[in-house]
């Protein structure tokens, strides 16, 4: 028996059939192509027929159900912003983005990234998704070391903290988040504001100043500190920038 090939084949089948838009396994188009796997004849026969077994549907449904639960539990802002599109958005995500982990954070980051990059959604919805993604990463990053600007030795290289982000919003954050909390209509996209989301902020986010946005942009690549300026110090205190070795 070639256990490794059988595991690969079964994992491929589960991934394919767990997608909400999975093709009908009874059609030739819905049959998984297993030719590339080095399977015994028993294994090949088993994998070719397993998709028709009721227990296989249950197996795939378990994966799908847990993925939905993780998205529902971890992405309330994005789902609220999506409104009537929420179910189709989750289905599209499950169909197009393979499962990477059984943990909540990677699933929520995957879903919010998907919505933030999907041009078919309203700009405000995409911004909310980008914001929620940044929040999730900032929370996850709270366990990592942060550095402060109090005494940076000469020659320190600063870089962006991997759990921090600058998120452009198309409207005032208070108006946007107020609408989400009250489940009211999203405000007009007429007051662009950039917010800083970082693990060192007590509330995880705050509006960013133009000078901070400039410094964030300037640190797209790690950069030698020449005596931190006020905005750089503010970004260090927020945990948005850090010493390069801290970021690893």
């Amino acid at each position: 028996m070639s256990l490794a090939a059988w595991q690969r084949g079964l994992c491929m089948l589960v991934a394919r059939h767990a997608a909400p838009d999975a093709p009908d396994s009874s059609t030739s188009g819905g049959r998984m192509q297993l030719g590339q796997l080095e399977l015994s004849s028993d294994e090949r026969l088993w994998l070719e027929s397993v998709a028709d077994a009721p227990g296989f549907s249950v197996t795939c449904d378990i994966q799908r159900r847990w993925r939905r639960l993780r998205v529902q539990a971890g992405a309330p802002l994005t789902l609220t912003a999506l409104g009537a599109d929420r179910h189709s958005a989750v289905d599209a995500y499950l169909s197009r983005v393979p499962l990477r982990s059984m943990f909540v954070t990677p699933e929520v980051v995957g879903f919010t990234t998907f919505v933030a990059h999907e041009s078919g959604y309203d700009l405000r919805v995409r911004a909310v998704a980008a914001f929620e993604r940044a929040l999730k990463l900032a929370v996850a990053g709270r366990g990592r070391a942060l550095s402060s600007g109090r005494s940076l030795p000469p020659g320190t290289v600063l870089c962006r903290h991997p759990s921090a982000a600058m998120v452009p919003l198309p409207c005032r954050p208070e108006a946007l988040f107020g609408a989400l909390l009250s489940r009211g209509p999203l405000p007009d996209a007429d007051q662009p504001t950039t917010v800083l989301v970082a693990p060192g902020l007590a509330t995880l986010w705050r509006p960013a100043s133009l000078a901070e946005v400039d410094q964030w942009d300037a640190h797209e690549e790690p950069r030698l500190s020449r005596g931190p300026s006020t905005p750089v110090l503010a970004l260090l205190e927020a945990g948005a920038l850090c010493e390069q070795e801290t970021a690893v």
């Binding site: 991934a15 397993v50 197996t59 990477r100 059984m102 366990g143």
Partner: protein, 277 residues
């Protein structure tokens, strides 16, 4: 936990639950602690011994187990020594041809074959050596048709060879075994005959729900009567048993309630006392 502290002898902790998975698109992953949650759990369980029950090791994956889980386990052991630890005899990941990692999203079974033994025995032996406390593997349930190669080795021979070859013990999940019995029309007594009970160190009981005609392993309900009967049956025959654990999902606690949880724990206590344990 404080409300049931007097009803239990130990708490079972899954370190994975207190972690964040820093997974990347290429599948590389590393677990890091959600420090607040971990500290809270350690504080709440400070007055009791703990045992560890892992979820993500994937000891049966041919393409490699999850090293990040072992790193977390090592760190956890430094923070809180544990009496024993356990994992599932299963696999959750495989590599796509071309080495793209794939995740099944649930514990999938290993067939009872020599090839599976050759894979798992050295891994389990390594873990037994590494931590110096008993390491147990749990029987999982599944909903698939009989696996290819099934029948090559009986469950009894497989589990005996696994335990003898690696030094690991068995975490006998009676609810999982009961799911197998219901879903495949096996008599519970026959299923228990296929377990080398002398290797059982811990027992799990739980309850779940039926979906699409299958009894599922979801830890959402009180333990069903037949599982209590199975527990009664095995208690006198498990000389190395050290604990019986009731499993319940966080999300199911509001439905069961504190009184319901106490009833489960009291039933375990009563049955173990009746068996002279």
């Amino acid at each position: 936990m404080s409300a049931i502290g007097s009803s239990v002898d130990y708490f079972e902790i899954s370190p994975d639950v207190f972690c964040v998975d820093n997974a990347t698109a290429d599948g590389a992953r590393s677990l890091s602690w959600q420090v607040d949650k971990l500290q809270d759990a350690l504080h709440r369980t400070a007055d009791h011994p703990v045992v560890v029950h892992g979820l993500g090791l994937s000891i049966g994956s041919c393409d490699g187990w999850d090293e990040s889980y072992l790193h977390i386990l090592e760190d956890f052991a430094r923070r809180r020594p544990f009496e024993w630890h356990s994992e599932h005899l299963s696999w959750v990941t495989a590599s796509h041809p071309g080495d793209t990692p794939m995740h099944a999203g649930l514990a999938l079974p290993l067939p009872y074959t020599d090839e599976a033994l050759e894979l798992v025995v050295p891994r389990a032996a390594d873990i037994v050596q590494r931590y110096g406390v008993p390491f147990l593997l749990e029987n999982v349930t599944h909903y698939l048709p009989p696996l290819p190669g099934e029948g090559e080795t009986s469950p009894l021979c497989f589990w005996s060879a696994l335990c003898d070859g690696s030094g690991c013990g068995i975490l006998l999940d009676l609810y999982n075994l009961y799911c197998d019995c219901v879903n495949r029309s096996i008599a519970p007594a026959d299923a228990l005959e296929e377990v080398p009970l002398e290797h059982v160190v811990e027992i799990h009981v739980a309850g779940g729900a039926v979906t699409a005609g299958f009894l599922l392993d979801v830890h959402s309900r009180p333990t069903p009567g037949p599982v209590w009967e199975m527990l009664q049956s095995v208690l006198p025959r498990t000389p190395n048993l050290r604990g019986v654990t009731y499993e319940l999902l966080d999300e199911a606690f509001p439905t069961l309630g504190l009184d319901g949880l106490r009833t489960q724990l009291d039933t375990i206590r009563t049955l173990t006392r009746e068996a002279g344990r």
